[in-house]
């Protein structure tokens, strides 16, 4: 592993960490503006994180090491994805470490850690959040893997860099039916996994409608900061993956400084555009009833099946 490549990986991780809270900030700001508010500014999530880091952490009585370890596992699993994914460069030396399926499994690992922590608190809301989050994650899993199948079938590899490189080499692939269908399916899953509307409302104050928030009701201080950073990072990673799998232009194909610089700038631009689009779309949406969510995910599963079939027959 060359020093240049190492620097590329480090740059990618640091960039993602730096950008992630701003992605959340941009989404909140867009939403605020569309609602006629002034908004807190896109740097607000960073200010929140800085403050939470300096506050005391509280463990509820009766909870165990699972409660304290969960935020660390959640953030660590997301950081590993941030290191191995082709976000600014496909020439990453770590690409061979984890492919698309491993990345999906790492995302799921984070979800599981938080769900166990929710159960560990022993509160009704913690258990409720864990149960719902796991249900949604379990039903979203088939779609992700089918999309992975559709994308990797023609490339003959499930390694992310290979998929991104392949589409960069054949731009016409982006408009192939398989790719479009897969993009729709994965978009639904990204929304579900990131806990955005219409699956989950990240700004709800009503416990009964919560999914993700209900699990973290007991966290405070630095634990909460870890979880919020991880949540922002997961959102960024998911948006970045979606962007690079379906619109891969600008991703660096070598580890030269200029290529990495361009790759980083393009990545920030793409994620910003997606964040604005997602936030705008959210303004027009209400949260779905919990038991309508499986229908939404079943719909995305259907799109996934269609994507695979068309990659078989129409390529």
């Amino acid at each position: 592993m060359t020093p240049g490549a190492m620097a590329g990986v480090l740059l990618q991780v640091v960039l993602l960490i730096a950008v992630a809270p701003y992605v959340v900030g941009v989404m909140r700001q867009v939403r605020a503006r569309l609602e006629g508010r002034a908004g807190a500014g896109i740097g607000q999530p960073w200010r929140d994180l800085r403050k939470q880091l300096a506050k005391e952490a509280i463990s509820p009585e009766g909870s165990s090491w699972v409660f304290t370890a969960a935020p660390v596992v959640l953030l660590a699993s997301t950081l590993v994805i941030a290191a191995v994914g082709p976000f600014i460069s496909t020439a990453s030396p770590l690409d061979r470490v984890a492919d698309l399926f491993a990345v999906v499994a790492l995302l799921l690992l984070g979800t599981v850690a938080l769900a166990l922590a929710g159960l560990d608190t022993g509160t009704a809301f913690g258990g409720m959040g864990a149960s719902r989050e796991i249900t949604v994650a379990a039903l979203a899993e088939p779609t992700i893997l089918l999309v992975g199948f559709a994308l990797s079938a023609r490339v003959d590899s499930s390694n992310l860099a290979a998929i991104v490189d392949r589409i960069q080499d054949n731009p016409a692939q982006v408009l192939s039916p398989a790719s479009v269908l897969a993009a729709v399916a994965l978009a639904v899953v990204v929304v579900a996994e990131a806990g955005r509307l219409p699956v989950d409302n990240p700004s709800t104050h009503l416990e009964l409608t919560m999914i993700h928030e209900a699990m973290v009701l007991e966290y405070s201080g630095r634990d909460l900061a870890t979880i919020e950073l991880a949540a922002a990072l997961r959102l960024t990673v998911l948006l970045g993956l979606w962007a690079n799998l379906f619109l891969p232009w600008g991703v660096a194909t070598s580890a030269s400084p200029s290529a990495l610089g361009i790759g980083a700038a393009v990545f920030v631009g793409k994620v910003a555009i997606l964040a604005v689009a997602l936030a705008t779309a959210e303004v027009f949406m209400a949260k779905l009833r919990l038991f309508r969510v499986p229908e939404l995910l079943a719909g995305s599963f259907l799109f996934g099946v269609l994507a695979v079939s068309s990659s078989f027959f129409l390529a």
Partner: protein, 160 residues
Amino acid sequence: MRSLFRKILTTGRVAQPAPARASDQAADPGVLRGSVQIRHVDAGSCNGCELEIASAFGPVYDAERYGARLVASPRHADVLLVTGPVTRNMEDPLRKAFEATPAPKRVVAVGDCAHNCGVFAGGYGVVGTVGDIVPVDVEIRGCPPEPDVIVAALRDLTGR
């Protein structure tokens, strides 16, 4: 969806321009600089203060632009926004909410009732003022206090 879009376009921005801060008594916000998460506790209020708090966080006054945000759990909060005289049934929950908030924390007592029980003073169900139960850092007077006043007090906390 089209009508909503048209409404967004025609309404534009409804938030009032931010008034200048009266920075005379501005104590150093410390850790809470720029970001204050608030858990609202209704200790027995007549809901007058709640209406004003709701409009302070509404689009017009938009307290969120100064870094203040309402949250769902005292574990996430830095500030308890307590309204009303403390009633017998809310005494213990108020203590518990204070206990559940991670340090450093502030308590903001909103409204005259929180200060001196107002017209409810001496009522059979009233235990006392907010200050009798938990240590109060900031008091916002008024019956009910106007959103402007609430926003100004919150701005002192965030320093923005």
